[in-house]
């Protein structure tokens, strides 16, 4: 359940931003979670609600922006969308696609007041 640690990181990032930018309440949090990152979206929602309780983001809406996985074939250089880490290249059949997008986990934006 590493989503709990990740949700704690979200809260710390929000609290750090609040100190620097002087906002008092968070209405919405946009998280970018890649489909190839090892995050279970439902677990993340559950952990987020628990972790932000009694913080500046208590009751904030969580919007998760899922980004699709992108891979590049090491053999032929073909770039394509991938849903798992063990897919073969549709062009040449080689395994071991290099992930070029879709494994990020970041706090994108906040709506604050």
């Amino acid at each position: 359940m590493h989503e709990m640690s990740l949700a704690e990181s979200v809260r710390e990032i929000i609290e750090e931003a609040a100190r620097k930018q002087g906002f008092k309440q968070v209405r919405t949090v946009w998280l970018e979670i890649g489909q190839l990152s090892c995050v279970e979206m439902d677990a993340m929602r559950f952990c987020f609600d628990t972790v932000v309780r009694d913080s500046i983001a208590d009751g904030a809406r969580l919007e998760i922006v899922e980004t699709a996985g992108q891979g590049r074939c090491n053999a032929c250089g073909h770039e394509t969308q991938i849903a798992t880490l063990y897919e073969a290249c549709p062009q040449c059949g080689n395994y071991g696609m290099q992930v070029i997008a879709g494994d990020a986990m970041r706090v994108k934006e906040l709506e604050v007041e």
Binding site: M1, H2, S5, S9, E16, F23, L85, G96
Partner: protein, 271 residues
């Protein structure tokens, strides 16, 4: 107990001492001006762009650990696997084999008990136990504090046995030179496909308990092929920690790493 998040409630223990999570103190209190306090209207909202990585904090601790290890010529390995793959037995055999020729220390991660650290100490190596409590993985901050408590020797080997879990430890860099994933032949061949993140993050796979292969249906070639689908560069050693097969190759791999770490050490160390 930390009043920010409640950590330190006996949850994570390093060598029996509570993990010190540092939280920066809150900034100065801000009061609204008198005029502003009397304006009654809905507070307008604004959008703040952050684009901050959730692992950034862990990664900064990992970078600090890595700098220290590099500066002191220490070769660090992060050993990861499912529970019951034979990690601790492998460590005990490795320590016994290296005894006297290679200075080393061990960081043991488990949710509870210091049984594993006791087994390592009995084998003759200094060891510290991290109990993660409810946590499912070691993070770089825990390992940094454990390194300080251990007092590592220059030009030594550091073996970090992560919590038995093929999911969570994949994401958390500890500052190690390599992740070593241990898969035992009593598990399924398709474990690399089921837990691809870990096999992608690792540089070496030890296929353990190979002495049991004659008694099992496990297809070792297929397991290795699956692992290579995810990570074509993954090195593989077939090993039996109890039987001794493959141990020489594994020990040579470690010694190579140690030699390289010492050779890469900057001449004047300020770490």
């Amino acid at each position: 107990m930390c009043t920010t998040c409640g950590c330190g409630m006996g949850a994570t223990l390093i060598g029996g001492r509570a993990l010190q999570r540092q939280h920066k103190p809150d900034g100065p209190m801000r009061f609204r001006s008198h005029d502003a306090a009397h304006v009654e209207e809905a507070t307008p909202s604004r959008i703040i762009k952050l684009e901050q990585d959730l692992l950034a904090k862990n990664n900064s601790y990992a970078d600090a650990n890595r700098c220290y290890l590099l500066a002191h010529g220490i070769f660090a390995l992060n050993l990861v696997s499912s529970p019951g793959s034979g990690k601790t037995t492998l460590l005990v055999k490795t320590i016994t084999a290296l005894n006297g020729t290679q200075p080393l220390a061990v960081i043991e991660g488990d949710q509870q008990t210091d049984n594993d650290a006791a087994r390592i100490r009995a084998a003759g190596a200094p060891a510290i136990q991290i109990n993660t409590g409810k946590g499912c993985h070691l993070d770089a901050q825990m390992v940094g504090q454990a390194m300080q408590q251990l007092g590592l020797q220059d030009d030594s080997l550091l073996l970090i046995e992560n919590v038995g879990n093929l999911v969570c430890p994949a994401s958390f860099d500890l500052g190690e030179a390599h992740k070593v994933v241990i898969l035992s032949v009593t598990e399924g061949e398709d474990k690399p496909l089921k837990y691809p993140d870990m096999f992608r993050a690792a540089d070496l796979m030890l296929l353990n308990k190979c002495d049991l292969l004659p008694h099992l249906d496990f297809d070792a070639d297929l397991a290795i092929e699956y692992a290579h689908r995810i990570n074509p560069k993954l090195q593989v050693i077939r090993i039996s920690a109890t039987g001794g097969t493959g141990m020489a190759e594994w020990l040579e791999w470690i010694k190579d790493g140690c030699r390289n770490a010492v050779a890469a050490k900057p001449e004047a160390s300020f770490g």
